[in-house]
Symmetry: D3
Subunit: 144 residues, 6 copies
């Protein structure tokens, strides 16, 4: 039976954000989120790792042509995020607190629907700083 191989491409974007719940007062945002909720925003160089999986095509040796994957995701997704404000400028984040947790779940939806047939989205990993990262495998949990 053919092997299942995982292919990961790393993307980069620079964006501003603040962690801010619009249902709360400015004071409550400051007290809960501290410097992460500064009113004039701060920002990050985000690194995003997209992992897909499938069997290598016997004629090409490729699970997916990584140049196509790169162009697709850069044009359709990264272009919406790079040099933008995650609270104000990104249609697919409207109505969501732009924590990295919420960002990665929203990115899953955006990326999954772009992939060609037969290529499965396996995980997204988002580095917010060199010391903080967030991973999503498309899993759900029992509600709390």
């Amino acid at each position: 039976m053919p092997p299942r191989v995982y292919v990961t491409r790393r993307f980069h974007f620079s964006a501003a954000h603040r962690v801010y719940n619009p249902a709360w007062s400015e004071e409550k945002n400051q007290s809960v989120f501290g410097p992460c909720s500064g009113p004039h925003f701060h920002g990050h160089n985000y690194e995003l790792e997209v992992t897909v999986a499938g069997p290598p095509n016997p004629e090409t040796g490729y699970v997916v042509d990584i140049r196509l994957l790169k162009n697709l995701i850069e044009d359709q997704v990264i272009a919406q995020l790079d040099h933008k404000n995650l609270n104000l400028d990104v249609p697919f984040l409207q109505g969501r607190i732009p924590s990295s947790e919420n960002l990665i779940v929203a990115l899953w939806e955006e990326i999954a629907r772009l992939l060609p047939a037969g290529v499965e989205l396996v995980s997204l990993r988002l580095w917010e700083t060199p010391r903080n990262c967030f991973t999503y495998y498309g899993e759900t949990v029992e509600p709390f």
Copy 2:
């Protein structure tokens, strides 16, 4: 159902150790462990990645406030290891050979009991050098 997101924080500590089995002679330690058992110790810049998981809280967008996680683990765990000797100075390593394998299993116990309710410890990854790393998911195996 809410998504399950993994949050990883990376920590750093510098420590001395030697791989040494006190039940063996110095000669046997040298012959089995070689330079890793030099009698005057050597040391490493360890990098520790702590991964927890859970659903993002709808009011904050956070699985856990990563600043709290950082402070908790730095104060309660890293402070016991940084600029210390793993064979001599660390209470929770007493009686254990301080290989990275044993260190990571001991760290699991220390870190798991610190976490707030609802935040699950998923994995620890310890880089001893930029080329050697060790990962633990809390799994057990059949004894050998």
Copy 3:
């Protein structure tokens, strides 16, 4: 019951390759693979992460002596790849298109049979560039 710990060692090799299907014309190779199939080859600094798992031996604290693992794989596997041409020089790649997907599956076979008893091969991860990586867990899929 003893813990199961994962041990990863990172290796490096520099090699030339081109993605090329010998059943196709040169023109078809160019049209499908583009610059990845340049007729005079190109090359990469590959980074290979080998992960094995098992219980730490109570007498040594080691899953495996990582110096032995390093020497075994460098002498038996990396020496066949480093400063070589993956299309022309590597016996275990003969007859395979040297995509990273096919390379990692071939490496699995080479490395698995070298490991000492009781040490399980868990995954291989191959970085072709700092932005592209490939992972294999020894899994298979239903044929397509």
Copy 4:
């Protein structure tokens, strides 16, 4: 004669900015600076390397106690930048376009006056992204 040794400490901060000349119209800013001047800001994980030099003190072996250097610069300088907006929140940047060039020159003035006697500031290097960096040695040029 005593040796002259250079000591470098690396700092990190996350900030928002836009490259914007307030003497110009919004349209001219967009046309000159493009996405770097997006009206809602973007941001970066900046890495700042501070290099000082001098002879090691014979009694300590130190040019400067790097823990003191770290605390001084984190408390007096990095705290003004981290999780802030470089256009709006930083007193020592008021009236300056917050390009990395202007930021590093402003940082030189802030850092030089903090250093203890006998410790010379030699260079600042600022990484705006992993691919763009800016260095300043306190030099001037003939005006253009």
Copy 5:
């Protein structure tokens, strides 16, 4: 007087090469250069750091618009090297042994003549592997 600031942009290319002196026999090449002269080539992920300097323009805060610098060098220089064979495919390397030393000197000539007036080329740094790098400042030495 205006400050002099150094601006560095990092580029990436993947190429094949062999160190080979065509005036020598194949045997002498093997004996002098060893595996670096394998007849079927090997390759690297090269990283190139280009550093220019000058005063920031008071109206933009820029020494040079780094997007222009990036596009210019990628289109005119990197495109000649990426996914190519340095011995066979690169016009500006014809007749030169493609060691990293010779490559960086040839790159100096290519890059210097592209730069806009008022922007001085200061240094090129070429990483052949993560452990080997080569730097050129445009200096000459007395012949030997």
Copy 6:
């Protein structure tokens, strides 16, 4: 006239040390050096960058054969440091406080006398942690 090119090789070693002045009491060492002087040592993964310079040899394209440089310094210098205690085990450090400043000055003497004729030692850079580094160019200063 021939170009002057700089060649850098990066080395790695893991060692234990404490910053300790034997002319002082244990109490004074603790009060001056804090955790850096813990009595049972701590340790680091040191990275050492050795830079030499000269004209490329027209017949080889090399300033120096980097494989020879690597073997020479690993066998003669790194072997004295790796998996050792810098206070107790290293002959060329006897009588010196093993701060990184003093270590790098001592390394200069060890390395300079190993180099073949015509190859000039230009700089040593020692990374003690990913955030602290030390550079020496063989310069002296007026005594203080």
